[in-house]
Symmetry: C2
Subunit: 311 residues, 2 copies
């Protein structure tokens, strides 16, 4: 029995929020369906941000509704505020994610309020969640710029742990620790993730890494050592910061599944089916930058065959 | 006092052995000089392979002689056999590297003899080295396909350890463990490198990783955990397998230095000077594929500033 670890596909949300082409709803749902068929159970399918802010997500309700009908899928959505959360709650989605930034300056630049105000916003979302009738919606709470910030530089690890503890106390069902700008290194990841896990246990803690500086999969490895068993990733490494041209974005779904499986974890996902889906998504987004090594080099002959056994 | 770790630049050897352009000797030496000025002390400067096999190295003697005059540099060369070793010994180089393959099939395909015959070849090289007068030449002994082979698949870890022990017994001064085809994963690296280090201690053990499947820097991190403190790398990630078009080659020198420094090791090298040198090398090799993240994304604001200190 292999230990389980999972990759959550965030391509239909994080991956396409900056691309120039508005994907039709049907293609977004084909992406979700393809990922589910390849064994990815968790997908962040859209964002309930106002359409005038990001036109890509004008069809958020339709995508979310469609995703709820896909067999085997546990769709989640990102919400920027209480208004977005209410839209998500109305659809009875199983998981709703909210993100604030550990860097005060980044939070101000991003949502024009302090980190403390964003924490209070999350508390209100959790209160509304708790008061509604019907199936309990799980809340994911993300801490962005947890490994550093392009505006303010270093971010205190104690502050990240404290924010995670407060989010847990306010009713978060899982904590997402995000390297929003690609600053994390494996030493930092091992240290911070051990501390966050110890502080919010038994809540699940997930990592959201970007591969901006080539350390994405090294950071996944370090997070695994610290006990993390869930990772956000985007097919073909789509996504990324609009202020760093050419910089890669999210870690690549296919490559992350490959790494987890090669390290002996059971992800439930099939790398070759993901690579096939990636080719389809590439055909929808001409001109975008697609990263990832497995799609280029193929799986090694030793995939899932530990060398130890070959003695 | 930070602990030391080093990157050995292998670009002028491994990096250019497959490129179409024959670099003039002056450019090869400018590469070596630039790397030395950026703080890289160890460079594999050329290969003493017969020029008819790889015309790129027809100027091997001139490059090696020139490299010996560069201040602060400890140049090494690769030799394929006793004949090559004798050419290197004649120049009084401080370090001469020999490589054989742990995969029998790969060794046969590569040099048309068994791994055992290659081991005996190394023993003869060591004997000639021991008999010559003058300064003692150090011998590096590399074990290729140590993490798997594109021809035969999995390679037994016990066999790799056994070969390393035999090379040490025959007179190797350092052992290089190479992931020639980009099959290694961090779990395997941690296990195998711990075993190799335990078996050949106190000989230094160096890793030679390729980034074919995106795990190059994850593997460096794992090797550091196992106690490895030296890594082969190539500026701009040059090099790689001619049979895997588009696949990246060696791990990238600039990115590896970045990772080591960020993890708190003292490499003696300057990332920004290496990126400047990389731009020069790129201008000499139009049409080649250059990889690497730091040259694209820049150093993070937190470079060498542990987040812990920011509390």
């Amino acid at each position: 029995m292999r230990e389980k670890a999972f990759v959550r596909e965030v391509g239909p949300r994080d991956g396409i929020q900056m691309v120039k082409i508005i994907l039709p709803t049907a293609q977004k749902l084909a992406w979700c369906r393809g990922a589910a068929q390849a064994g990815i159970r968790d997908i962040e399918v859209t964002s309930f941000v106002p359409p005038k802010v990001i036109p890509q997500f004008a069809d958020a309700e339709d995508v979310a509704r469609g995703a709820l009908t896909i067999e085997g899928l546990r769709p989640s959505v990102l919400v920027p505020n209480l208004r977005g959360a209410e839209r998500a709650f109305a659809l009875d989605l199983p998981l709703v994610n909210y993100v604030l930034s550990a860097s005060e300056e980044h939070n101000l630049a991003n949502v024009r309020r302090s980190t403390e105000d964003s924490l209070q916003d999350f508390a209100r979302i959790a209160a509304v969640r708790d008061q509604r009738a019907g199936r309990r919606v799980a809340l994911g709470a993300g801490v962005a710029t947890a490994f550093g910030c392009t505006i303010s530089g270093a971010v205190s690890e104690a502050r990240v742990v404290e924010i995670a503890v407060r989010l847990a106390g306010m009713g978060a069902d899982e904590i997402i620790i995000a390297d929003t700008v690609g600053y994390a290194d494996p030493g930092q990841v091992r240290r911070l993730m051990s501390n966050v896990i110890a502080a919010v246990s038994p809540l699940p803690v997930i990592c959201h890494f970007h591969d901006t500086r080539g350390l994405g999969l090294a950071n996944v490895t370090a997070a695994l050592e610290a006990g993390v068993r869930g990772f956000d990733a985007s097919l073909a490494g789509l996504g990324g910061c609009p202020f760093a041209p050419g910089a890669t974005g999210n870690i690549d779904t296919e490559d992350t599944v490959f790494l987890l499986e090669q390290l002996g974890f059971d992800t439930g996902a099939d790398v070759e089916q993901l690579v096939a889906l990636r080719r389809e998504v590439e055909s929808w987004l001409p001109g975008e930058r697609f990263s990832g090594a497995i799609a280029r080099a193929g799986l090694p002959k030793t995939y899932r065959t530990p060398a130890k056994a070959a003695a």
